[in-house]
Each structure stands twice: as structure tokens, then as C-alpha cells.
Symmetry: C2
Subunit: 129 residues, 2 copies
């Protein structure tokens, strides 16, 4: 049996994906993959997601250079969630220029930002000349 | 503004939730919450999810005793994913009796189980007499 067939893809042919930093175990980001994205992620060892807003493959880092090198790929008990362990190029996983996307923490019923911007997004995503 | 109103709930009124172990940062499980579940999670500091299959609140550990005490609640950049840091009672988050749900790892294009069963599920979920 093909390992991709063992995944319980949702009604849109997608599976939720958690990307975790190899070594620290920090959760960097959350995204989605379709079958093609997961197959390419495994064959290239570079994280490829499915962009639901752009409706196309999203090769993480293709614009920013902040690629994710995949250390291992895990599947959960219900076979419907993927967990990646990755090495994050540039130490920046978030499009806001932060290390990870979960930079808002609830404190006294208010969301507070507790992670610094490492690089200005305008310097990450340079317009094509 | 109410902190719950800042969350981008999906078309079903849900948000995906990642539960991570406080201290080790291991990802224990993935589930969903509705507004009521997240509000109760914050007020009680015990993880409460929304069971999509049973269509009701799922107070984690209500049958097994494997409750999750919430250390902190994080929100991502797009305000549509929650990350919980929790202390896992019994050290068992998965209904299979394992520490966490991501016990299948891809190796040579095959899923392999690399985590032991800590407690037999039949001993966790005892039938009501």
C-alpha cells in the first residue's frame, strides 16, 4: 500500500500540518498539504504546502529563502494530521519576520505579542524589479 | 474588544488547536475548539475541545482522567490557529494509550510506529458497570 493512501484526506483532499523545529520542538507554523505537496515534501525533504487562499502549491521559502528542511514526517493516530520536524532557514518561519507564528499569548483576557520581529517583512519579500 | 472575537473562526465556527507539552514542547495532539470550548478552557485552565464526530464539547480526560492543565494559550499570525501549552495528566494524551498521538513516523516510504503503549486502552476506558 502506498503510504500516501493511508492518510485520511479531508473532503477537500487536504491534511492539516504542524511544523515543529527540530531540536527545540518549538511549533513554528500550521498549514495544509494536499497529496502532491506531501509527496514532494518527502521526495525533496523541503516543506511544500498547499495554499488555500492562492489555490496552488506553496514551496515554503520560494520568495523569502526561508526554506524548511524536513528531518522527519509523522502521522497521528487518526491518520489525519501530519507533524513535520524541520530545520528553519534564517530562523524565520513567519511572514511577519518572526521566528514562529504563535507570537500572541493570552494574558488577562488580552492577546499580547511576546516575540520580536527578526527581520522586517519588507526586507524579506522584495518586490520584483 | 473581547479576546474571543479576535479569532478568525472557520465556516463551522471552529479553530484548529495544537496541544504541546509544557517543558518538553512535544506535540501531544491536535483537535478543534468552538467558542464555548475555548472560553471554558481559559476559565478553568483545563483543555476542552469540540468533538466534530460527537458534535459536543469534549472535556479532555472526562472519561480517562487524562486531563490537560493549561499553562498558556497562544494564537498565530493569521489568528486562526490556537497553540496550547499543557501539563498532561498520566503522561498519556492519546486514546491509544501512548504519550502523544504522532507515533507513526515515515521511514523508507512506510509508516512505522515508534512510541510504546503506556497503558492498555481497555484499562483506560472502563465500561460503565
Amino acid at each position: 500500500m502506498n503510504w500516501l493512501d493511508e492518510i485520511n484526506w479531508d473532503e477537500n483532499g487536504l491534511v492539516p500540518v504542524i511544523a515543529q523545529e527540530h531540536g527545540t520542538n518549538k511549533v513554528l507554523m500550521f498549514a495544509w498539504m494536499n497529496r502532491e505537496a506531501l509527496a514532494e515534501t518527502n521526495s525533496t525533504k523541503q516543506a511544500v504546502y498547499w495554499s488555500r487562499s492562492r489555490k496552488k502549491l506553496w514551496r515554503k521559502g520560494e520568495e523569502s529563502g526561508h526554506v524548511q528542511t524536513v528531518h522527519d514526517i509523522r502521522l497521528d493516530c487518526d491518520e489525519d494530521v501530519i507533524l513535520l520536524s524541520v530545520e528553519q532557514a534564517g530562523g524565520i518561519a513567519c511572514h511577519t519576520g518572526r521566528h514562529h507564528c504563535f507570537f500572541k499569548i493570552l494574558h488577562n483576557d488580552q492577546w499580547r505579542i511576546d516575540q520580536p520581529v527578526i527581520k522586517n517583512p519588507e526586507d524579506i519579500y522584495k518586490p520584483v524589479a
